[in-house]
Amino acid sequence: MAKKPKNKRRDFLQLSTVTLGAVGTAAFIWPFLKSMSPAEDTLAAGSTEVDISAIEEGQSITIKWRGKPVFIKKRTKDEINAAKMVQASDLRDPQDDADRVQKEEWLVLVGVCTHLGCVPLGQKVSDMKGEYDGWYCPCHGSHYDTSGRIRKGPAPKNLDVPPYTFLNDNTIKIG
């Protein structure tokens, strides 16, 4: 019986040593895992200013922002109306056109399909624009409408709208 307290003391020492070792190992691993996250200079990739004065109605340009394509489109009256006509509740990712634009004629989108990251077609006149006359992703067949909302195909979400501000009537700052 005299042995028992001694054993408990030994158990405690063993357990605390192993625990400390495990915590120490985890703490040692953390910097290695964290080093794989985007570096500070990547995070600081920042913003881009774009001159939009030359874009005609119905025309769309692609610019590069943080390594991704961003679509800036000056929509026609028909396209705006088509986007507004849709009931948000009918959509896979319900969103009104008004929530996706700051000025009706200017649509700004991250041009990356929300399925598996391809760049949808529809920027050039000759491109396929899909069944909803917006954008069409050639990889796995997702169709986006004139507001960049997903209408058909495997993509789960609408094309992202990046943060942007109108510096004046002719300049947009993205990011």
């Binding site: 990547t42 943080r66 390594g67 990251g117 391809c118 760049v119 796995h140 067949g141």
Partner: protein, 430 residues
């Protein structure tokens, strides 16, 4: 230490000196010299050796390519072109490496087909099978990482599509993807780490291959009749018999791969990968390497992002539990009159999936992919357990030597092939 340890004695005193300190000589003698191979093993059993040889070839050619490759988005594509045009024999290294990868998969697929058809995954070799599937997974990861390195259009967009698969995981998906890429999209950080991982993973594969071989040597190799070695009469020593046989197989393989390397080095390459990567333009038609196409077909057959990703990974993970899904104790499909046909159907189906995986996912191709998907999972979850339960296997030979006794004897009594077994007749009732 154990002073009474019995030390093997060799004629060569140098070997004895080593053996006394590290018993590696007797180990190699036991595992690669006297190791008994069932004497009925056919050339299907050479593909393990071929795979090992290919792995070594890939590692060697890869090391030499790495000496001239630059893992930076601005320079990667040009450095590969420099290897092709300016580096002495660079073109040969690269064509060996790129076609070697394709042949590695051909060999491993045949190796897997052999294991499935002849029931090598069954007791007592389940762990061996699991290690094999693990090697297959590592190979797929390694080949994907390597395909990114030339930094052509297919490299870039293949990497984008595959890493985006992770974003399908609820809640943590986006964060996980960013962590894997080291950026918000495939970029320089991604290329750098893919190169580092592509360099190290083959050595991990090499280690697991060591375990895989060690595991099969514990209970010995399976054979076309799926029965155990009972006497010395049933087997031949690895050296020299199997070594020579594997060498013959290696020569045939060398002819086949040389024909491709020297006369059609781009047969299995995608034209788009000779266009430098452009993050703003997606190629009209993204295709995976053919050896990953069956899984890509499964991904695209499902009209839901998360569902497609889960089924694609599930198609590989399911292989791990095959030994427990199959309830039949008979290993070789040669003695399983019903399951044999479903098994062959599985191989044809896998091939068909790969074919449609390379084509656009629409119309008839999409339909074939969906039927193929159903058969793929149906084979594992329904056919394999169910057939094992109802099927009456043909009579197994008493021993491996017995197989030869039957084959050599004239067909007086009517061999197994002549008279349909009761199980065959039962087949028609299905």
């Amino acid at each position: 230490m154990d002073k009474n340890r019995k030390v093997h004695q060799f004629k060569n005193p140098v070997l004895n000196w080593i053996e006394f300190r590290l018993p590696i000589i007797s180990y190699f003698k036991k595992e690669y010299g006297d190791y008994p191979m069932p004497k009925n093993c056919n050339y299907f059993w050479s593909f393990g050796a071929l795979a090992t040889i290919t792995l070594v070839t890939m590692i060697v050619s890869g090391i030499f390519l790495a000496m001239n490759y630059t893992p930076h988005t601005d320079m990667a594509f040009d450095s590969v072109e420099r290897i092709m045009r300016d580096v002495n024999y660079g073109w040969l290294m690269r064509y060996i490496h790129s076609n070697g990868a394709a042949f590695f998969f051909i060999i491993v697929y045949i190796h897997i087909v052999r294991a499935m058809y002849f029931g090598s995954y069954k007791y007592p070799r389940e762990l061996n099978w699991i290690l094999g599937v693990f090697i297959f997974l590592l190979m797929m990861a390694t080949s994907f990482l390597g395909y990114t390195l030339p930094w052509g259009q297919m490299s870039y967009w293949g990497a984008t599509v595959i890493t985006n698969l992770f974003s399908a995981i609820p809640f943590i998906g986006e964060g996980l993807k960013t962590w894997l890429l080291g950026d918000y999209n495939v970029g320089n950080a991604t290329l750098n780490r893919f190169f580092a991982l592509h360099y190290v993973l083959p050595f991990v594969i090499f280690g697991v291959v060591g375990l895989h071989v060690a595991a099969v040597h514990v209970h010995g190799s399976n054979n076309p009749d799926g029965i155990d070695i009972k006497t010395n009469n049933d087997s031949v020593n690895f050296f020299p018999y199997m070594l020579i046989k594997d060498t013959v197989a290696m020569c045939a393989f060398g002819v086949a791969i040389s024909a491709v390397i020297f006369f059609g080095p781009n047969l299995m390459a995608e034209v788009d990968n000779y266009i430098p990567a452009d993050p703003l333009v997606t190629p009209a038609h993204i295709v995976p390497n053919w050896y990953l196409a069956p899984f890509y077909a499964i991904l695209r057959a499902v009209p839901d992002k998360l569902g497609g990703v889960l089924l694609m990974f599930g198609a590989i993970v399911i292989l791990f539990v095959l030994p427990w899904l199959d309830r039949s104790k008979v290993r070789s499909c040669n003695y399983r009159p019903i399951y044999k046909w479903f098994m062959m159907g599985f191989f044809v189906n896998f091939f068909a999936l790969g074919y449609v995986g390379m084509l656009p996912a629409e119309g008839l191709y999409l339909l074939i992919a969906r039927v193929g998907l159903l058969y793929y999972f149906g084979f594992f979850f329904i056919i394999t357990p169910f057939v094992g339960w109802i099927e009456k296997p043909s009579k197994l030979p008493l021993s491996i030597s017995d197989v030869y006794a039957k084959n050599i004897a004239p067909n007086i009594g009517g061999g197994e092939k002549g008279i349909p077994s009761p199980a065959m007749q039962k087949d028609t009732n299905l």
